[in-house]
């Protein structure tokens, strides 16, 4: 008896050739499976691609998170530029965080140092990370920093305060149309990224949730 008769798929027997597909079928399946795996990989490749793209083009106001190594940024002839400083606290970040000066007048091609005041208002030691952003975004690639508090994390004891410096320069390539730049920092509470404290925080978080619910009820 033809072995194909015992196939659980009735039409395998019924089809004239005994096979459903022609020769190319298996190849098509293989190619499509490769495509699926390839696209899944591509979705993860989008992450570094996005960062590289933003870094090269300066789109999205992304600023490099490391000190510049270029020593030849200072030039004789600069032009006037206004810089406004903006500080944000990410949600549930209780620290006081504000620029020492709201705005300064600087020259392109010259280094300037600005400071931000920060204070841990809680009764526990906390760690913070500041993330910078520049507007208009096409100014971002022209901003270079020799040092910045955003390059590292800040750990403050309860009640501790500090002045955080940023030493920056805008190169002369900055487009003429840009007369003023907003430099913004958002400060995030990253204490919980420490695994030991994670559980502690979770308990606290649950407590908060319960409290929130009560208030909505």
């Amino acid at each position: 008896m033809d072995s194909r008769l015992t196939s659980p798929i009735p039409h395998v027997y019924h089809s004239t050739e005994g096979y459903l597909m022609n020769e190319g079928g298996k190849r098509t399946i293989k190619l499509l499976c490769f495509a699926v795996v390839g696209m899944f990989t591509f979705s993860f490749a989008l992450v570094p691609l996005y960062d590289v793209f933003c870094e090269i083009t300066g789109l999205n106001g992304k600023v490099e998170l490391s000190a510049t190594t270029n020593q030849n940024l200072e030039t004789e002839e600069g032009r006037d530029l206004a810089i406004q400083f903006v500080s944000h606290n990410n949600e549930q970040m209780p620290w006081i965080f504000r620029p020492s000066e709201d705005s300064i007048k600087i020259q392109t091609g010259k280094f300037h140092t600005a400071t931000f005041y920060v204070k841990n208002t809680t009764d526990r030691t906390m760690t913070a990370q500041a993330i910078p952003s520049v507007a208009p975004s096409n100014a971002a690639i022209h901003l270079k920093k020799l040092e910045c508090f955003c390059f590292e994390q800040q750990e403050l004891a309860p009640g501790e305060e500090a002045l955080l410096p940023v030493k920056l320069i805008f190169d002369d390539e900055l487009p003429e149309s840009i007369k003023s730049v907003v430099l913004s920092y958002t400060i995030f509470d990253i204490t919980d990224y420490n695994d030991v404290k994670l559980t502690e925080h979770d308990n606290e978080h649950d407590h908060h949730d319960g409290h929130d619910m009560e208030s909505t009820l």
Binding site: P8, H11, S15, L20, T28, M39, V47, N90
Partner: protein
């Protein structure tokens, strides 16, 4: 296209197995098509019930019926269920039923995988729906699940949501591989690619889109999973990630996904308009090229969903022009449909009514899409009810109407019985009026500034919201009539002839009605 069937080999035919196991273990494309269609109908009713909750809450300003938290869950699940549970499985069901018959193949290429790709779906939606009863409630971040709403601020059930999306994705990918392999390798002799019916063409293109973007969706939810549970920072700014990156990845999937939900509708509409105009379709080849260009363009327009996130001017201009470019191939298609009807001997049976409504209302949705594509205008329209009106116009009288048209058009072939024409037309007119009363006023309240995704709104939007809700209740109720008509047709009715419609074209009309359990075990010759 004309086809000659050499012989019907009735000797070896054996019918389906009996009982429940027939459906559980079936590898027959018609059985699986039926399963998909019933499943999507069930999801359509569940997702529709959620829409009723939403419209009931919005009937009047102020909080009336549900808590805002629950409203957000309804909103999210309505979107997810309609997209992944109703529209996509309905198209896969139609593909299963029709593609093998249209290309003259005995079945789908990978029948057991076909069974698997259907039977994992109910589990995916069981998991998703069960999150409603979990602590913290169901997902509440909208069907677009933007991070950090879906990561940092998500309810604990988000992990179940992620798992469920993975399963839906796996199901879609398997279904698509099956469709492509069937079309590429199992066509009857003489069925060249350009002779292929447009529904098959539309599904070939759709399947390629699915294979390209469903893995990207899987990647996006995997990154979310890692951010939530494994301490990575893909979308967390504090850890060096970027929430905007999520939107880029999501819409890289999301925009082709939008066309996945409309391309098969283009195919269906072409067949129906051709049949009831009693003319050959105008511009078969240009239809194929139009669909191909729409599919290719869909990969380079994703950021038009994100005009307000702070894109640079160059990107806003590029995505604006690229988006507007899509109007060209879409215009070609609408032109071809209208030209096919021009001087045709048109009769207005239910499928034709739905198809004509599709052309008109989908075009309205297309035009509001063009308005949204204009970047400066989008800054005004973004996240208002205008957007809600736009995408419901392309999805409800677009995708959903085409599915209803397809059901009326092919149900005589599936069941062997004609549906009740009088009830069918009643269903059409109720749905047509319901859809327009629901969604047309949303254009106005959107332009007036009502934000989307809100359970409460300012008083000046009250009147049109009430009108919109009344329309929604009418549309919702008329789908119960649809269910009744389908059941009535399955139970009995006037017997259908093999060709069913005067002037129907295509291989599926050359086999008996109802279609035998096995068709084209001997390939037909297509000339």
């Amino acid at each position: 296209m004309s086809a000659v069937i050499e012989s019907h080999d009735h000797e070896h035919h054996h019918g389906p197995a009996e009982g429940l196991t027939r459906w559980l273990f079936t590898t027959n494309h018609k059985d699986i098509g039926t399963l998909y269609l019933w499943f999507s109908f069930a999801m359509f009713l569940i997702g529709g019930a959620m829409a009723m909750v939403i419209r009931a809450e919005l009937f009047q300003p102020g909080m009336q019926i549900v808590e805002p938290e629950f409203y957000n869950q309804m909103l999210t699940l309505h979107g997810l269920i309609m997209v992944f549970g109703a529209v996509m499985p309905a198209f896969v069901g139609l593909a299963n039923w029709l593609i093998p018959m249209m290309v003259g193949a005995p079945d789908m290429a990978l029948p057991r995988m076909n069974n698997l790709s259907f039977w994992i779906l109910p589990f995916a939606f069981f998991i998703l729906l069960s999150s409603l009863f979990m602590e913290g409630g169901a997902p509440n971040f909208g069907w677009t699940f933007y991070a950090p709403l879906s990561t940092t601020y998500a309810p604990p059930s988000v992990t179940f949501f992620i798992f469920s999306v993975h399963i839906m994705g796996a199901s879609s990918i398997m279904g698509s591989i099956n469709v492509v392999v069937t079309i590429m390798n199992m066509r009857a002799p003489g069925m060249t690619l350009m002779k292929m019916p447009l529904f098959v063409w539309s599904w070939l293109i759709t399947a390629y889109l699915l294979i390209a973007v469903m893995p990207v969706l899987a990647g996006a939810v995997t990154m979310m999973l890692m951010d939530i549970h494994f301490g990575t920072s893909f979308f967390n700014a504090a850890g060096g990630g970027d929430p905007v990156l999520f939107q880029h990845i999501f819409w890289f999937f999301g925009h082709p996904e939008v066309y996945i939900m409309i391309l098969p509708a283009f195919g269906i509409t072409s067949h129906i308009i051709e049949t009831f105009s009693r003319k050959q379709l105008f511009g078969h080849t240009s239809m194929v090229w139009a669909m191909t260009s729409i599919a290719i363009l869909s990969f380079v327009v994703w950021a038009h969903h994100m005009f307000t996130v702070g894109l640079p001017l160059a990107a806003e201009l590029f995505f604006m022009w690229a988006t507007m470019l899509i109007a060209v191939p879409t215009g070609v298609k609408v032109f071809n449909w209208v030209t096919t009807m021009f001087r045709g001997s048109i009769t207005y049976e239910t499928p034709m009514l739905f198809a004509i409504a599709f052309v008109v209302l989908f075009t309205i949705g297309g035009f509001s899409g063009l308005m949204l594509a204009i970047t400066p205008a989008d800054f005004q329209y973004h996240d208002t009810y205008f957007v809600v009106a736009h995408f419901h116009y392309v999805l409800v009288p677009g995708a959903i109407f085409s599915i209803m048209a397809a059901v009326y058009y092919w149900i005589p072939k599936w069941t062997g019985n004609m549906y009740d024409e009088r009830l069918g037309r009643l269903h059409f007119w109720l749905s047509f009026i319901g859809v327009n009363v629901t969604f047309f006023p949303q254009h106005w309240i959107g332009l007036a500034g009502m934000p989307r995704r809100v359970p409460d709104y300012a008083l000046q939007f009250a009147d049109w919201n009430m009108v919109s809700s009344v329309g929604a209740f009418l549309f919702g109720a008329s789908q119960i009539l649809f269910l009744f008509i389908v059941i009535k047709t399955v139970m009995g009715g006037k017997k259908a002839t093999p060709e069913v419609w005067e002037g129907s074209r295509g291989l599926e009309w050359t086999v008996d009605s109802p279609a035998p359990y096995h068709t084209f075990t001997t390939p037909p010759k297509v000339t």
